[in-house]
Symmetry: D2
Subunit: 309 residues, 4 copies
């Protein structure tokens, strides 16, 4: 484990020296204003230790990483019925493409592209009002991370709501196919808020630990989902977690992960650890450039790839 300490420190040092840092997302002022020089990493092992380096305590907008948590909640509510509404296949198109939706009659390809996550948010609205649903998601993030201080960045949520035309288009389009049960405004209210969750690498890596440990949080002993479901969520993360760069991520890193446009990535090493990295600059697929590089180093040094001994 001293080895893991060394690996994390090495990665932080090597990343600090990189000059090419990618492009920060600029579609809302809150994201555009983040300092691109930042980098954080936190590794929480299934035996409960945490190894962190860099800006691992700075909260950032987790954006699409939150889709892992809402998917987990929605599977808890709807079980396999969820798959009648959303597929499990990679999309082969950019994260916000609407072409596939027209071809496939309003059924999104998977729960991690925008359209699919909007369907997941609609599912979560089945029993609650929007406000309560948002509250429930925040509670779930706190429960997973064992940290009551986690909150939504309301400025980010508001900005998304004001400029999220493409997401409104996706929602209205699916509603036109009868694929959403609630008005687009309500569904997107939930969606924009959970994307605006602010978490640090330390918090995020703890929150993902149940996926590395067969569905049970080893730090609290609480079961979150069955082992089967944890495996399946991991499979979805590997297949679809990095949009149209998922294949490349599987090829280079070899671990299930979910990225967000805020520069965060949550990665699961089954049976070993949950890892969160953060660096705001993005590559051409919209995934954190330095975050991806850090994870490639980590996988190489630890040999944690799921694809081979």
């Amino acid at each position: 484990m001293n080895e893991l300490r060394a690996i994390v420190d090495d990665i932080q040092r090597l990343i600090a020296g990189r000059e090419e840092r990618g492009k920060v997302a600029t579609y809302i002022p809150e994201l555009a204003a983040v300092d691109p020089a930042q980098f954080g990493i936190a590794v929480t092992t299934v035996d409960g230790r945490q190894y962190a380096a860099g800006e691992a305590d700075v909260p950032f907008s987790i954006q699409s990483v939150s889709k892992v948590f809402t998917l987990t909640l929605a599977l808890g509510m709807a079980g396999d019925r969820l798959w009648n509404r959303v597929g499990k296949e990679p999309s082969g198109t950019p994260f916000n493409s609407i072409v596939q939706l027209e071809r496939e009659q309003g059924k999104p390809r998977n729960p991690f592209i925008n359209a699919g996550a909007i369907v997941v948010a609609d599912t979560l609205l089945a029993n609650h009002q929007p406000k309560e649903t948002i509250g429930e998601i925040v509670q779930f993030a706190r429960f997973l991370a064992t940290d009551e201080s986690i909150v939504i960045d309301q400025k980010v949520a508001r900005s998304e709501q004001e400029t999220g035309f493409r997401n409104f288009a996706l929602a209205q389009f699916m509603r036109g196919f009868g694929k959403l049960d609630h008005p687009a405004e309500q569904v997107l209210g939930v969606y924009f808020h959970h994307c605006a969750l602010a978490m640090s690498c330390r918090q995020l890596s703890r929150a993902g630990l149940f996926l590395a440990a067969g569905g049970r949080n080893p730090m609290t002993g609480r079961t979150v989902v069955s082992g089967d479901r944890a495996r399946r969520i991991n499979a979805l993360m590997l297949m679809c977690g990095h949009y149209d760069g998922s294949g490349d991520f599987a090829y280079r890193v070899g671990l299930p992960g979910k990225s967000g446009v805020g520069g965060g990535i949550l990665v699961v090493a089954p049976g070993r650890a949950s890892i969160a990295v953060w660096s705001p600059g993005l590559n051409e697929n919209g995934n954190s450039l330095l975050g991806s590089q850090a994870l490639e180093m980590l996988a190489q040094r630890t040999g944690w790839s799921i694809f081979g001994p």
Copy 2:
């Protein structure tokens, strides 16, 4: 290991009772004539034992499973330069779609869809004439399976050549974009022949063993590829090995695999075993219906999923 024996026998018994057996491919007479009642399974573990049941010794047309072997050869020749010519991402479209090729200027999404495998065949022609290249592929299959009796079914190869208009269209289309170095007829000559390789489940599961064992065939002690490359080929199989049903296969089975329209599937359980199943009836995505079900049972009983403890 007696347990593995029991699992394989159970699977064979359960599959024998299934009534819905899928649809046999009919586009060439040789495939249409195969008896759909057949089922075979062979599991070869990394310590060299083999557990088989059903028609595990009957040779069948491995079709697209052969793309794993040609990709391995092409990576040996061209290394990472291969990725300039073909991508690593799931396609999000059927196996023989040409739409993506037009959108992306003749560069196929991955080496396992038809267009991508045609590029791989073109790569293999760099140093040899078509006939020699085909010979080399047969030799490689024999070497991997440690079985000199493996041959190409020439009638199948000829039939494909006579009716493979869509593959000719894909090849000519890529040639129009300057993406093939050799005439379509030559490239497809290689392609149709390697798809016509006839192998049994026992042979196929031995041939895939190097991918389960870090790149080295533990039965012969011969290194085929580096551990890194074995992991990466596994990643590509998981992401793209079942066409537009890859996500579902990852979700249900949780192991890298490559299917063929002849009803065969080769699956890799890293560090554990190489598995081949065969049953000619296909599901709607063109993958063996009973073969997929058998693999789901196997993964459940063995706990070999790469996605969780």
Copy 3:
């Protein structure tokens, strides 16, 4: 001219005998409730005579036929600058497809598909509030038809607004590309209202007369547009006026026309007459089935095709 009288009567008689009448649009209750047995025709010649038969005085929802009038107004306001925001090419896809919009960065192919007409509505909002803009469109329809009794069917407008998810999707999508200057709700308010204009065949055929007469209404002597512009609007109607059935309409009828989902079609015979037909049942392209057949008869009997002597 007695001949024209006879032709119109013959058409009405022949159409009355047709058994296959198409399918009435059902997406809003107001359209679904219309009696499909109705048929009306009115021919207004450039010398000011009108020949009508059937239900030529029954007002119906003109729907997309109104796009001819809003295009005329928008060209009056923006001139050729309009073509920076919307194209002049047939779309090759259904009227409400969003695929082309994604491929071409939010610029609709022509002003007669839904997306294009939404851009036209946005243009009309440049100087006025939505309510005033709607009033202006109604005034223009009255002016063209020389009939102050023309009104918007508010129930239809409301229904469209409540169920027009696809149009909201199109608008939000274009707004996401920065292609609309006003909020989707405002633009669609205008759009849904002008589509809900109720006019009879007699009124509609008078309203289109300026397009047959070089831009000037021969009944009032008032110039509406220049001769050049009239010709160009006619060209757009021919190329794009029947969605993905425009080619077939040009082939069979040979006259510029614009159809609406309410079952109306406005047709221009340059230098001769303006014709309106109405029958609520639609063919598979969303154009009036009997209306199209009536126009084919009319063109054949009169020899008014623009494509030959």
Copy 4:
């Protein structure tokens, strides 16, 4: 008619002064070598007079303009049954796109895009061998133009055959859908040869005269097609004759026309004249840049637009 003389001369003078001349097609050496400074125009009126200017006697590769003649022949053979194999709608995509073919199961949108003209060539092969079919097309061009000296440029035909990968892809693709009756090599043999017809503006404008004169060549008195069919071919030319620039051409020129990548355009003014222009430089849609401008001037000066008095 002295007026027409003056108009043609004016156009020639004005065009000679233009600096921006477009880009000559370069995909085969024979087209790339043509001097872009050339321009020719010939107007043949229905009363048999011909007004020409510029390089009106220089033969050029008529390329896709020949599709008007093969369509006329195929309609003569198959009548309306032809429309079971090819549509009548604009494609909404570039001339050589294959995307629409996949979406619509191998049925091309219209007879003037490459795929559609390949189907037309296949139709012409129903009764003859390729060589005879090519001979028949040449005879037809000579008959229409009343000029026995018209020939195919064999070097152009051969070059096309050697580099026409995209057309081979289209043909094989349609054959995969069972939409071609003859092998791709034979069909494309016919296709490449008729595209290689060499004609001058004078010859071409005479060859199109039957379309302006109700199907009958007024110079010879010979009926080529019925008046109805002439009108319908004109309709198809207007809708689809300039690929994805057809709408713009209808808007600016207002006359049915068919362009070729060699820089020629054949235009029909129904009841008036047949016009051929030629200038090798192309605009972004693959239509002659100066040719289109010349036709716009001609339409403006003569008032021959079919869209208005």
